[in-house]
């Protein structure tokens, strides 16, 4: 174990190296670009044994890792904003073919270079597990965990690990780097299923292996249990875990209201919650890490413990609303007593979200919890 001060993109590349990725693809796009430069550096120096392919675009990037994963290599790809959107079609197939590809998505919105979560969220229906992480340490840890989850035979579904561009990609923080042997112990070599080698060829096997919709959906829903297990085991081995792997609660005890955030806003929100708690205001924080599969059970539990939830969405599903807001309302619908669910759109196109902004959103949520009338229910910050 060593501590190194590194930017988010180096943490991502380091995680790929520690995970002994065998095939990596590269196509630059701001703010992801330096990941592929770090990977190239590791490989060129001989620190990493990996086929590195300079593809001609992200669509091909996704198809290369899909095919390589099918043959039996552990694969890594990474992208941002437009590149992430460009990959859409083959992403469906990577999931349908149940291939454990892991991808880092360095968030960049589609209205400029600055981050929001609309890039990865545009892929909600592709059948990828989606994690949104908070800091550089979580980038590194989550990529390693992602391989363990994705390659678990109960899952075999690709995983995207998203983190906010600039705020993490180019910002240095101390990162605790686990030893290679420890990671090797945690992450056994990948084996494709079924084998694609000529000597194993079975003429009676189905022509092309695409899982039917219902089964596909259930596998992703059930992956929640594996994510929790792997998060817990990671915690035991490495001394760090992230809530239950799906959501992370901060100072939620006796809370009358909670705010829910994703990605880097969580760090700012911790300060806001500390300030409000210091003033005696019973507000907690929930970091939503795993958007797909959506942790319905956790929000049902949280929803039955508080009287209001304020979802801060760094996204908008145009013409529909905040993605987190919509999903949480769906989750709590069946409760006997439902909390109120407020929505906030904040931090889109990289707009700064300050501690004071979050305090205000949390206070508004607390007011709603206490039965005061609030308006509007959904607000743009």
């Amino acid at each position: 174990m060593t501590i190194e001060v590194m930017v988010g993109n180096k943490a991502a590349a380091t995680a790929a190296k520690l995970s002994r990725v065998q095939v990596a693809v590269a196509f630059p796009v701001t703010p992801q670009t330096t990941i592929v430069e770090y990977l190239n550096e590791f490989i060129t120096k001989g620190e990493m044994d990996c086929e590195f392919i300079n593809v001609e675009g992200e669509l091909s990037a996704q198809v290369v890792v899909q095919a390589a994963s099918r043959v039996g290599a552990r694969t890594f790809c990474c992208t941002s904003g437009p590149g992430c959107l460009y990959m859409h079609h083959p992403m469906h197939d990577t999931s349908s073919l149940r291939l454990p590809v892991v991808m880092a998505v360095v968030h960049r919105g589609n209205k400029g270079m600055q981050p929001d979560h609309t890039d990865l969220m545009s892929h909600i229906m592709t059948g990828w597990i989606q994690w949104y992480v908070e800091n550089n340490q979580e980038v590194l840890d989550s990529i390693i965990m992602a391989y363990r989850v994705a390659e678990d035979m109960r899952v075999r579904i690709p995983i995207a690990v998203g983190y906010d561009g600039y705020i993490l990609s180019y910002t240095a923080e101390p990162v605790d780097i686990p030893d290679q042997e420890e990671v090797d112990d945690f992450l056994p070599p990948y084996k494709p299923m079924p084998s694609l080698m000529p000597e194993d060829f079975d003429p009676k096997a189905p022509l092309w292996w695409r899982v039917p919709w219902e089964e596909h959906h259930k596998v992703i829903v059930d992956a929640k249990e594996v994510i929790k297990e792997v998060n817990e085991e990671f915690g035991k081995r490495f001394g760090r875990s992230y809530g239950n792997g799906l959501v992370e609660e901060y100072r939620c005890e006796d809370a009358e209201a909670v705010i829910v955030v994703m990605g880097t806003i969580a760090s700012t929100a911790r300060d806001a919650i500390d300030n409000l708690r210091a003033e005696g205001k019973p507000v907690g924080l929930v970091k939503l890490k795993c958007l797909v599969p959506f942790p319905y059970e956790d929000f049902q539990r949280i929803g039955s413990e508080v009287r209001a939830i304020g979802m801060i969405d760094r996204n908008v599903c145009l013409g529909v609303g905040g993605v987190g807001h919509t999903f949480i309302r769906n989750a709590i619908y069946d409760l006997e007593e439902r909390p109120r669910v407020l929505g906030f759109h904040a931090g889109l196109a990289g707009k700064e979200v300050k501690v004071s902004d979050i305090e205000r959103m949390a206070e508004k949520t607390l007011k709603a919890a206490r039965g005061e009338s609030i308006s509007p229910l959904v607000e743009w910050i």
Binding site: V55, L59, V64, S69, G72, A73, P198, L207
Partner: protein, 296 residues
């Protein structure tokens, strides 16, 4: 290429012609010949096309637009797993090669990926019901280049894809025809022994799309070559050029065109125009053959 006689063609069959193929399907025959020559140490990659070729080999299938990337992934994974004894083989239509798959194809060729790419070229998108591709010849009728007061079929000649691929300086580029099986298999066997990017464009008449009687597939395929509409050659390392079939005299293109409903509307002048183009092209190819050099 390797020289062989019809007796040297392997007897093993590695393809099953699926029920979806029409009678007299050119691409189905191309698959049969190609995979006989390749044997079973192959991972075949396919994309949407017609008919669905079925090989008794492992296979993968993915998006229409990116066969070059899929084959790259297969080949690199085989390398990293120490299984370079297995060939990464693409068997892809002209749409998946000349058009939507062109970008990833060019990229894989430029990187000189260790791949064998066969284009089963039936000169249109047949799977979706006979729409033009950039491999469709001048004046051919398709459902998107119709014939009427404002249309004479396709307005432009096909793109010269084998030359474009050769300009990537890859180890091997060849054209072939299902009516010349020893030439075709000789090229496949040669390509199989090389490493790096190898590309063989096989003209495969399609009775349904070209509008001719299914009993005449081989005749049509043979006439394409004998008239110079589809010349047979190979280009090695993007430098050496060799015609592999050189008749003393080409047959008139009319013999080829008149057999096919897709050219039924052609006037004498249009046929003459095609004849002129073919003659000029043939002269150029003869010169290249004589020099033995590919000029790009």
């Amino acid at each position: 290429m390797e020289r062989l006689t019809i007796k040297d063609i392997p007897l093993e069959e590695y393809t099953i012609t699926p029920g979806s193929a029409c009678q007299g399907c050119g691409p189905a025959l191309a698959a049969r010949l190609v995979f006989k020559a390749l044997g079973n140490k192959v991972i075949r990659h396919g994309v949407p096309s017609c008919p669905d070729s079925v090989t008794r080999t492992p296979h993968t299938f993915s998006v229409f637009e990116s066969a070059g990337a899929a084959l790259t992934g297969i080949s690199r994974a085989l390398k990293v797993l120490g299984r370079e004894d297995v060939l990464a083989v693409g068997f892809i239509g002209d749409g998946g090669t000349y058009d939507i798959g062109f970008q990833a194809l060019s990229a894989a060729a430029e990187r000189n990926e260790d791949i064998l790419w066969f284009c089963k070229n039936n000169e249109a998108y047949m799977n979706t019901g006979i729409q033009r591709s950039s491999a469709t010849p001048l004046y051919a009728w398709t459902t998107t280049t119709q014939v009427g007061p404002r249309g004479r079929g396709k307005e432009t000649p096909r793109k010269n894809l084998p030359f474009i691929i050769a300009a990537h300086h890859v180890p091997y580029v060849a054209t072939a025809s299902i009516a010349f099986p020893t030439d075709l298999i000789g090229k496949v066997l040669h390509a199989k022994r090389l490493r790096g990017f190898r590309f063989i464009d096989i003209l495969c008449p399609c009775p349904t799309g070209w509008r001719f009687d299914p009993s005449r597939t081989i005749e049509v395929a043979r006439l394409a070559v004998q008239t110079g509409m589809w010349a047979l050659y190979e280009i090695i390392d993007g430098r050496e050029f060799r015609l592999t079939y050189k008749p003393k005299k080409l047959k008139p293109v009319e013999e080829y065109l008149r057999l096919q409903g897709r050219f039924r509307h052609l006037t004498d002048r249009e046929i003459e125009e095609i004849q002129r183009m073919v003659n000029e092209n043939w002269e150029r190819l003869l010169k290249l053959d004589e020099m033995g050099e590919f000029p790009l």
